[in-house]
């Protein structure tokens, strides 16, 4: 087993307070990306 995620990184990943703000940030960011629109890729002459 190779520890690839440090104790400090793990603390940040699992701390409920830090993660609460991360949750709000991710919710907004995902909303912007996904609801930000979609369309075609072909040029219409």
């Amino acid at each position: 087993m190779t520890k690839r995620i440090s104790k400090y990184q793990r603390f940040k990943m699992m701390n409920p307070i830090i993660q609460f703000f991360k949750f709000l940030y991710l919710s907004l960011k995902i909303m912007v990306i996904v609801a930000g629109g979609h369309g075609g890729t072909r040029r219409v002459n």
């Binding site: 087993m1 190779t2 520890k3 690839r4 995620i5 940040k12 990943m13 699992m14 701390n15 409920p16 993660q19 609460f20 991360k22 949750f23 991710l26 919710s27 960011k29 995902i30 909303m31 990306i33 996904v34 609801a35 930000g36 979609h38 369309g39 075609g40 890729t41 072909r42």
Partner: protein, 485 residues
Amino acid sequence: MAKIVVLGAGISGHVAAAHLRRKLSKEHIVEVVSPNSNYQWIPSNIWVGIGRMKSKSILFPLKPLYKKKHINYKQAKAVAFYPEGDIQLENPYVEVEYVVGEQKGKKEKVTYDYLINATGPKLNFEATEGLNPGQNKTFSVCTYNHAEHAWEGLNALIQQMKQGKKAKILIGTGHAKATCQGAAFEYILNVEQELRRHKVRDMAEITWISNEYQLGDFGMDGMLLSYGGMTMKSHEMVEMIFEDRNIKWILGAGVQKIENGIAHYENLEGEFKTENYDFAMLIPSFSGHGFKAYDKTGNDITEKLFKGFMVVDADYTSKPYEEWTVQDWPETYQNPTYKNIFAPGIAFAPPHSISKPRKSKNGTEIFPAPPRTGMPSGITAKLVADNIIDAIKSGKNELQHKGSMGNMGAACIASAGFGLTSGSGISITTFPIVPDYKTYADTQGRKLGKTFASIGLAGHWLKLALHHAFIYKAKMKPLWWLIPE
């Protein structure tokens, strides 16, 4: 008055029916034909498969909802397509066969003005010899029934491990061209966490087996993403997670045969190998349903409608990987021959894979088929519904609403463990889904910033929030349409 028939009541079919009903007046008929009696929120099957969620939490019966919302519903399966009608019946129709009750086995001609084929994939277990859920110690999480069985199998093994049994667990893809690596990825991380919760992690050897060339390909050719202020390749991120959790991996593996506790596979080197296991969850290949189509005089015109899945406005010209472009991918999901037939979600035939195709030294194709998750399924279903609504209201078939997977973002919130304070999730967004190597030439076809990943407890909360939000939306409760696809 127009009649719109929707085949299938999964994410795509249900979204299309819901939007059609909301936006069209009652003089128009919206009719859903599905062999399933329940709607299921498939992304949460993972949690049913580890025993942390009951299947009743992820499904609800369709019939009462459709009755309340004035959507006609037939519990039947499509059998054959007659897009020109036949000698006796002028209108186009689909031949359907009822699957339950007194009418079971009875066939009926369901006529339509517009047809939305949202039948999704057939879970093609028979393409891999011996791969049957619940047999040969292999399981699936593709449906809630499969996931329940998977939990029974896993739980039995956990109890044996508590008695001192050492076990091997194999999770991944069960066919050389399977897709949906994301579901298997979620499941392996959830199983790993559950073993730790049950204090038997040290009794198990967990192995990922996949047809991907690299970890983190996910059938999307991998991705370059923003992660914690850095730019990282998806295979580096998944490698970090697997190493940290002591999960081994076998890549470029096309599973060909399953025996009791033995998976036979061929790898890209052309070697034929086996892997033993005590519990396996292997995703099968997906295929079309084998529908037939006939013209007015009864001639077989299946190739006009189907290439396995349904033919739509994609460029199906055969060309090498280097010449693939995002323009190959469909925008409106309309059949080019019969303009009143559409196929959103997983029902349309993709022009080619997204991942680079690879062959073993023996010539066996081993690479993932293109995935189409819930989000693009919902988005494409809504745009198809909107185009039909516009056509009915304006009388013009202009197809103003477009949505190519080459110009569409998607979020994949991969659960990495269940628990309000101990859970974890890997939140990944990708833009676009199909890499655009011309527009984003320096970033492997994706827009950095819009393609990012984050790991942590927030990801678990996010997936749980989406579970509740999308079931609320699917139940068509007040203001459901404000929740985006």
